[in-house]
Amino acid sequence: MTTLEAVTERPAAASNFSEEAIGYLDTLYRGALRLTRDAVKAEDLVQDTYVRALRYQHSYQPGTNMKAWLFAIMRNLFWDRFKGGRPENISLDGDGEFALYDTLKDDTARPESDVLDKLAAGEVVNAVERLPELHREVVLLVDVEGFSYKDAAEVLGVPIGTVMSRLHRARQQLQKSLYDYAQESGIVHGRDS
């Protein structure tokens, strides 16, 4: 049976699929904005994600994690379209399993907790958008969307250890960006001053 026939014969199921899928529009759009850093590209990416989801809805198993399924489609489209292919073979400096364990030196530059609340929301978004894509996407999934490490690993097609090490690196970088911004904007003074 083709997908089209399946949709025709099971309109209620198809409608349930569409209803559930459109419920994730805002969250997908935000993810697309962070990935593409461009509102027009984000809209195109989201639209193409839904077109592809509709085409492959037979491969979605009802009751499983549709949000993760949609994110995986969007993420793959993003890499194919904007980055010239998916990043399985790209390796970031220090992106190995053991990167997680060199953490004791990560607190040399950091804002205090109460300083964070004084930062502008736009600057936090900028800091996220300045992360390399491989780090940015894991922050999006885990920190913004609340994915478990396991679900994030499935979306990204990498082992859980890689999710953890990328996340750690991303957070180190974010922390440093926010600290630098706090210094530049006079919210906090450098330790040497």
Partner: protein
Amino acid sequence: MNCGDCINQLDAYVDRELSDAELATVREHLDSCPPCEDTFQLRSDVKRLVRTCCGQEAAPSELRQKLREILF
């Protein structure tokens, strides 16, 4: 648990990825170690800030309408 072990587990602690037993061990260390507690607080605050600041925008209504036409 020493400080190094604690720091290595802080991300998973902040992300609620630890078992109950692991969580209790980290919590116990944090309760007795102000520097690690500070680090935990900072990581937790950065995560909260990112979630809040990056989780605001809604999709444009034209996009929603266009998708409704595609999906239904």
